[in-house]
Amino acid sequence: MRAGSVKFTESGDETLLQAVGCWDIANARQLDAELAAPARPPGRTLRFDLSGLEALDTAGAWLVHRTVKRLQAEGVAVQLTGGNESQYGLIEQVAANDRPIAAAPPAPNVLLRVVERFGAGTVDAMLEARAFVGFLGLMVQTFLAGLLRPRRIRFTSLVYHMEKVGFNALPIIGLISFLIGVVLAYQGASQLRQFGADIFVVNLIAISVLRELGILLTSIVVAGRSGSAFTAEIGSMKLREEIDAMRTLGIDPIETLVLPRVAALVLTLPLLGFFADMMGLLGGAVMSWAVLDVSPAVFIERLVTTTSAWHFSVGLIKAPFFAVLIGMVSCYEGLQVTGSAESVGQKTTRSVVEAIFLVIVADATFSIFFNIVQV
């Protein structure tokens, strides 16, 4: 790379500033520093000589223009000499485009920003809650309309999503539930053994897995796995105006995109929950056998005699509700995507976090409800 430099010479009242070498963007940093160095030339007039230039690009021309402008502002008479026509042309071009702009959006002060963000967040949350209820209504309405005209239900799409949401999730959900069963058995056993109540580990596993953990874990995994996929899919479609295209073709995006997804979740989440229950119990049984010498036969016998079927039902009753929450949040957030690729990422994160949050809130509400009705 050829270098560029600045040479200052003084003769009497006049300062000579010579531009030497390559004044291009590769050398801009160094030239910028060199030009900034002399705070103020002593002479009242300055000759800026360009005859030593080997190359000049817009960055170099900008530096020439800026230096001239700065010196003139300081009251120095500046004269440009020695350049050729194209160099002068370039400098003129650059000078014509000397219009400062804001590179980044202006940032208000920190305190104001915090207050503003807090306020905007609160208002956002309220608006979102309202929009969310509206979306639920729209969904129910579309669903009921679909029931009246079953031919409009998109079965292909429904089955496709059931496979993606349900069937493909079996391995991961099975593995997680099995491991949770193992952990519960192991931790439970080490505590219960102190009281000689080893055998109650079966109750511990059965109740916690069937009532809470099986379905809760399944919902969280599904929210992370399928909820994010829904948001990203619908969000990208929104970004590429596919949703707008559907609307103009008279196709209802709620009917074609949202309902099949939510319905697939409602249908498969209970099945996945059931599978998780079984795998959790299996994990617990295996661990109980290995650590506590509770044989599978004893485990099953304990399970059947001491655990009421209600524990199992209570768990699975919650599944469709969780499914609706996950499906609704993820599709709703997908439809909220606007503008940029960043927005897809933001909404996807938001969809997963909100879905998991709502699932846990719903779970807590169910606990209270079941406690009141005493099951």
């Binding site: 801009a28 817009t58 960055a59 650059v94 000397d98 219009r99 400062p100 590179a103 940029s340």
Partner: protein, 259 residues
Amino acid sequence: MAEADQEVVIRVRGLRNQFGTFVVHDKLDLDVYRGEVLGVVGGSGTGKSVLLRSIVGLNRPAAGTIQVFGRDLARLGGEERRQIEQRWGVLFQDGALFSALTVAQNVQVPLREHLDLPQRLMDEIAAMKISMVGLDASAGGKYPSELSGGMRKRAGLARALALDPEIVFLDEPTAGLDPIGAAAFDQLIGKLQKALGLTVFMVTHDLDSLHAICDRIAVLAEQRVLVTGSMEQMLRETHPWIREYFHGPRARGALATPE
């Protein structure tokens, strides 16, 4: 243009591109000379954009060589390749601006990536480029999603010009612009090309652009560059597709009003 004594900056020889069994280019040869504006035309699906993408290295050709500044890109290592890449700028069809950055930040991306400049100088350079491509000063702080299609193209051009490249690749720069905006864009490219001594490789369908600013035109058809030459030569060609293209109803309109 006297072609013999001019420096060839892009030399494509025997290029073959295919997707699966679909052959886009076969035995394609093309030269681009320093300082010229080359317009590449061809019907839909003849691989104009693919040719552009092959030259800048986004598509790996199935066969053939592509030399830019006399270097075979496929054989260059990372560092040498980056150096070549700093000597060209690419304007994609919709600008391809980074959506998370403002326009000014977009223009600064190549500066930040390849050079170590003080922030103030980068701001000044970005401001100058943004103004050069005819954008309003207020556009600098805006995000790409807040701009119209024409403004995004201008911003994309400002980013392509950030490093003062020697070659600029333009992919349908005037597509989707209104006639006034398209004419302004043509003038802008012509003006910048003269001021900065650029070599411009332009894929376009716009007969007005071809007429207004292109020194030479290359016609892509039958999987290769069928002919290259000036507008006058194109008008004399007898190949049916070229005749249709340059003598069709829209072409007559464009040629009837030379500026």
